[in-house]
């Protein structure tokens, strides 16, 4: 059964058909939640809740990219979660980076040497921590743009802000991330060490 048929069946209340769609997109959905929230447990909870919401609202899906529609729901759930977490103390730059590799096996590439694998895993942790240290509104836009590849219009619709706001938030997020990376340049692969390239 193709995706359109699965969607139609799910719209008629066929839970099995919807679960077929879940199996197709669950990794991407979880990845988005994880990148935005920065915590595997919170990402799992939010992913499950977002999929339940998607099933309950699938009757409102009017064609187009089902994946984008699904990711918008996930992003909104993450946004709600971030707002809920707003009262909590923000994770400092020094405290971040403790991502459990076993919980996220994809962070380790099996085709690399042990050193490269460690280096890549460390870079992934470093980047994830840097993203997690961004303010929630900037982090949201950065992940939707640079992790999910959404354009500005789609991000604006997902987050519910004007395109100009998306543009400025994304610029601030990237600038802040750039500053963080330059501050910890020794963790970056040699080719990414900006100061080395600058000194050459």
């Amino acid at each position: 059964m193709d995706e359109a048929a699965l969607i139609r069946a799910a719209q008629r209340g066929n839970l099995d058909a919807f679960n077929e769609l879940v199996l197709t997109y669950q990794h991407r959905v979880y990845n988005l939640a994880y990148r935005i929230l920065g915590d595997p447990a919170a990402a799992s909870d939010t992913t499950q809740e977002a999929l339940i919401t998607a099933y309950q609202k699938i009757g409102t899906f009017r064609g187009g990219s089902f994946c984008s529609w699904l990711l918008r729901i996930v992003a909104n759930r993450c946004y709600d979660e971030l707002r809920r977490q707003k009262r909590r103390p923000t994770t400092s730059w020094e405290e971040f980076g403790e991502v459990d590799e076993e919980a996220n096996p994809a962070l380790v590439n099996g085709g690399e040497s042990p050193e490269e694998s460690v280096e890549r895993a460390e870079l992934a942790r470093f980047l994830q921590g840097a993203i997690a240290s961004l303010p929630a509104d900037q982090r949201m836009v950065l992940v939707l743009s640079d992790v999910e590849g959404m354009d500005y219009t789609e991000i604006a619709r997902t987050v519910g802000v004007p395109v100009g706001t998306v543009k400025s938030r994304l610029a601030r997020a990237r600038g802040r991330l750039r500053d963080l990376l330059q501050a910890r340049a020794e963790l970056l692969p040699r080719s990414y060490r900006l100061e080395d390239r600058d000194s050459q």
């Binding site: 209340g13 839970l15 919807f18 679960n19 879940v22 199996l23 669950q26 990794h27 991407r28 959905v29 979880y30 990845n31 994880y34 990148r35 595997p40 799992s44 992913t47 499950q48 999929l51 339940i52 099933y55 309950q56 919980a103 996220n104 096996p105 994809a106 962070l107 590439n109 870079l123 992934a124 980047l127 994830q128 993203i131 950065l142 743009s145 640079d146 992790v147 590849g149 354009d151 500005y152 543009k167 400025s168 994304l170 610029a171 601030r172 990237r174 600038g175 991330l177 750039r178 990376l181 330059q182 970056l188 990414y192 900006l194 390239r197 600058d198």
Partner: protein
């Protein structure tokens, strides 16, 4: 402050430039600045590499499946659907049954056979014919004037049969003969001990004491509900007909309806509890 704001504006243009989200005017202006300013080119390169690092992050696989179950989405089991109408239907059936029972009971207590539903089926009683046989009808047709209180055993049996018939066939069709019989019986000092009139007297009550339709009729002793159950049927088959030619209430019908109402009420209660639970 102005310099910081200007730097933020330049960063915004550089970021949008990387995403190809600048308008033609902004793009031309920025490209001219990039041609002339080496620092600006360096900032653009730093930003490009930062974006490349983020985009190069591996996709994290879900640690488990997120398949939905019916309980997660609050969906009820398909078998539960009929329960939504079952409880109201049982309640309605209980009400109808109870009402019918009351109508039958009140109708019988008031002695109005017409109060009974016309469609109520006659209750069969062992040994009692439900319809008049041709022989009986012939007897009625050929009957002469009523005898003067000289009932034989055969006539007694005939009256007993008639009472039983009236007992199981509670419609208005048999009223004239009954009234005639009662009128004949009221002519005696002790109706309960007097022999019933012959069948001929029931069919042609001429010459007998008249009884107005508006005159209260003593229906005799009405059985109490406690006597209903098996005793009633036994009485109908073995005991003599009610004294004074009275019309006994259709207790089997009332009892059956009572039991039906009780059963429906219990089922209705259970159905409501299941629906809410």
């Amino acid at each position: 402050m102005r310099e910081k704001r200007g730097r933020a504006r330049i960063d915004e243009l550089l970021s949008a430039y990387l995403d190809d989200e600048l308008g033609p005017g902004e793009r031309a202006w920025l490209e001219a600045r990039l041609e002339a300013d080496a620092d600006l080119r360096a900032r653009l390169e730093e930003l490009r590499q930062t974006v490349a690092l983020v985009r190069g992050l591996p996709q994290v696989r879900a640690p488990r499946n997120f398949l939905l179950t019916p309980s997660m989405v609050g969906r009820t089991e398909p078998r539960r659907a009929p329960r939504r109408w079952l409880a109201p239907a049982l309640t309605f059936a209980t009400a109808v049954s109870g009402l019918l029972c009351m109508v039958v009971l009140v109708g019988s207590l008031l002695g109005g056979g017409a109060a009974l539903p016309a469609s109520a089926p006659p209750v069969p009683i062992a040994g009692m014919p439900m319809e008049a046989t041709p022989e009986e009808e012939q007897v009625y047709a050929l009957a002469g004037p009523p005898a003067e209180q000289t009932a034989t055993a055969e006539e007694e049996a005939a009256v007993e049969e008639l009472s039983a018939r009236q007992w199981v066939e509670p419609t208005g069709e048999w009223t004239p003969p009954i009234l005639g019989a009662e009128a004949a019986l009221t002519g005696t000092a002790q109706p309960a001990q007097a022999p019933p009139p012959p069948r001929a007297a029931l069919a042609t009550p001429t010459g007998t004491p008249t009884l107005s339709l508006t005159q209260p009729v003593d229906r005799g002793v009405t059985p109490t509900p406690q006597l209903f159950a098996g005793a009633e049927e036994k009485e109908a088959t073995t005991a003599p007909p009610p004294a004074q030619g009275g019309r006994p209430a259709p207790w089997p019908l009332v009892g059956g309806l009572s039991l039906l109402t009780l059963g429906l009420a219990i089922s209705s209660l259970l159905a409501w509890r299941m629906r809410r639970g």
